[in-house]
Symmetry: C2
Subunit: 287 residues, 2 copies
């Protein structure tokens, strides 16, 4: 697999700058930040980016550094611009701590509106034993060089139709077998697979995996359904610190029913380890 | 499939009595209750029963009746006996509302200890459109009569070793292919499947599905690992009101690594609909 050596480092990259949170003096557990316009799809701030921002505040607030399991409820649509995160340490244990956080933005009348509420358990991934007994298999897909980059496509033609800023922040290469919808031929299976790096070459870490689990186009597109697929709830488990290089992200939807669908995600690193699993409940497009 | 006609009705059954919560006068959103000793495994209160109790309080507190997605973090071990649940209405929308709840018990020094924290979205399952485009398939398993009931086993040898009260509350019949561990022959695959009803014949409803997703023996047993498998976090999506009769519950673990494992659950009703999906992150037994 050919892949450019990392240029931006973890801690000094677009992703790190755009997820920065500033502890508010005199208010422990409260963080100020600006949601970047660089991670939007159409007008909406990407849900994975939001999760990473809140995850970063929780990392600062809790005694442990690594998200083990993070659940977010998306309450109202976030806008680029100022925001505040308020965290609560629910429980601080020896090997694991539990925290809660809400991100708020202020509306035109000066009222704080809650955008997203998160509950999470953090621990230390490096302290875990080495045992691995996985029966899960990495997704079958072509190599990085044989997948379809949105940068290869003619201007305005995809593979994320109408998408905007986030495309420039990601190095996303879709498996051609799950990219047919972009030219009018969805497979109908409800699958989406791709290689995912960050455009500036920053390697993944547990925080960017929070982004990775909600960074691919909706599986609804592969089911032939167009439109907005708002996330109600997303839970991610980070199981392992990812190896350098892009990760493989596999998303499947098996049950579209009653106007809702699940998106089940596996993230595999270059060392063939299952580094993250997530599932979200989303509202199906009306179309 | 032969199955006794329902004797106990939804609303008037062991499960309903044991999950009852009483609004505390003058404290809106606060509920008193007693955790029943009838849903314990060894000394521990079953996590699915706890989820149902908290889910019932949220049903009372929120403007919608049906849990759509519920996430619980298990903080400390609950004991049978008095408890209090404090709920918060996070957001009340037209078709969906979001709530949070914590269950507390009082320790010997009179301090309130938080046992479990829940965040959930509720809606109205009966208001959903009828569209179903599922590619998921029901678990392949023998019929109800050909599965193994713990009540069929010699005393003390039943498929849930050392288990106690909850066995008498459930009508659980395991697929023999996933019950070999009980006689010393785990399959090694990490699967657990069974038919699950309530012992008094009460049919399932969305609240009892919260119990169902954590009612089978741990998949770790089928991997040949004995011991306690404490849940860190469990998220369940209820997708459809279940048809009368026992449900089929399929649990799989594919990634046991770093001392943790996921348990992925599907619940199918008698009408072959996928009525619930859940995933939990649990700590693997040390053994």
């Amino acid at each position: 697999m050919a892949y450019a050596a990392a240029r931006a480092a973890i801690g000094d990259s677009e992703f790190d700058r755009d997820t920065a949170v500033v502890p508010r003096p005199g208010e422990p557990g409260t963080y100020d930040l600006a949601l970047s316009p660089g991670w939007t799809i159409i007008q909406a701030v990407n849900g994975g980016y939001l999760l990473a921002v809140v995850g970063r505040a929780l990392r600062d607030a809790l005694p442990h550094d690594d998200p083990f399991t993070v659940t977010a409820h998306y309450l109202t649509a976030s806008q680029p611009g100022p925001a505040v995160i308020r965290t609560e340490t629910v429980r601080a244990g020896r090997t694991m701590s539990t925290g809660q956080a809400s991100l708020y933005q202020t509306d035109d009348e000066g009222r704080e509106i809650e955008r997203i509420r998160v509950i999470a358990a953090y621990g230390d991934l490096d302290a875990l034993p080495d045992d691995v007994r996985t029966a899960a298999l990495p997704p079958q897909m072509p190599g990085y060089e044989d997948c379809v980059s949105s940068h290869d496509a003619p201007a305005g033609s995809g593979p994320v139709p109408g998408s905007t800023a986030i495309v420039d922040r990601l190095d996303l290469r879709l498996d051609p077998a799950t990219a047919g919808w972009a030219i009018g031929f969805p497979s109908g299976r409800g699958d989406m697979r791709g290689w995912l790096g960050l455009a500036d070459g920053r390697d993944h870490d547990p925080l960017s995996l929070l982004l990775a689990v909600d960074a691919l186009p909706p599986t609804a597109f592969d089911l032939g359904i167009k439109g907005w697929v708002p996330t109600v709830e997303l839970t991610v488990h980070i199981r392992c610190r990812p190896a350098p290089g892009p990760v493989r992200v596999s998303v499947t939807t098996r049950n579209l029913a009653g106007g809702y669908l699940e998106e089940d995600v596996q993230v595999w690193d270059a060392a063939d380890r299952l580094v993250a699993q997530s599932r979200q409940l989303a509202r199906a497009p009306r179309g």
